[in-house]
């Protein structure tokens, strides 16, 4: 089968599938709330009030974790699937891990600051 499995380690592939499944649920909820309920859902006051609710805050923290992990693990697979990437496996692993941590920590900081 053609998938990222061909270049990922078994644990990385399991994580990619697991985070993908969680994202299908959480991204659908996020998209439904922000884009399909009301035009007002994206107003500043609405966003701040939504994020202040503990259940939404928790959901967004989990979403941020799985999205960042899935995105940069996926990028890692794409880069490793090139001949240049195969030669620089360690550098790509370090770069994508740092990018994941940066996106996740910055997003969390944003989430708990507003």
């Amino acid at each position: 089968m053609e998938s990222a499995k061909s270049v990922m380690e078994p644990l990385a592939w399991i994580l990619q599938m697991f985070t993908g499944l969680i994202m299908i649920l959480l991204v659908t909820i996020h998209f439904y709330v922000t884009h399909m309920t009301s035009h007002e859902a994206l107003k500043y006051a609405e966003v701040v009030s939504r994020v202040a609710q503990p259940e939404f805050k928790a959901m967004y923290a989990v979403l941020l974790l799985v999205v960042s992990l899935h995105a940069f693990n996926g990028l890692r697979a794409i880069l490793l699937d090139t001949s240049a990437g195969m030669r620089r496996r360690k550098a790509i692993n370090i770069f994508t891990t740092l990018a994941f941590l940066l996106a996740f920590i910055y997003g969390l900081y944003l989430l708990f600051s507003i």
């Binding site: 499944l21 299908i24 998209f31 884009h35 500043y44 995105a71 699937d81 001949s83 996106a103 944003l110």
Partner: protein, 124 residues
């Protein structure tokens, strides 16, 4: 498959096409994730003025086409990814070809519905 192989047209199977689209949509969504986090930095301005100024652009009718294309990427990536996971667990592996067609139709249907609702909400 190397990145240059994504754009090879001759002698490709439909699974190879879906794999290529999975990767292209994945890259688009990664770029969007970075842009989204950057954009949300406007929430640091507690008056809301910066955020409201930016959101006015992104919810405009002129911007809707980008939103709709982004939704296409997200819906295809999610639904096609779910199909890959099903096969990974050995579910309906013998029906790979029809399932790819069915999931593509579902993705298009979900995308059209979401686009219609978004268009309606922007006063279309």
């Amino acid at each position: 498959m190397s990145v240059s192989g994504w754009f090879r047209f001759k002698g490709r199977s439909i699974f190879s096409w879906s794999f290529m689209f999975q990767r292209i949509t994945g890259v688009v969504l990664l770029i969007y994730l970075i842009a989204h986090l950057t954009y949300l930095s406007s929430l640091f301005d507690r008056t809301g003025a910066t955020y409201e100024g930016m959101i006015a652009i992104t919810v405009s009718k002129q911007f809707l086409v980008f939103d709709i294309l982004l939704v296409l990427c997200g819906v295809f990536h999610g639904i096609n990814g779910f199909r890959i996971i099903l096969h990974e667990f050995g579910i309906a592996y013998e029906y790979r070809k029809p399932l790819l067609a069915i999931f593509t139709v579902i993705a298009v249907a979900v995308w059209l519905y979401a686009s219609y609702v978004m268009y309606s909400l922007t006063g279309g």
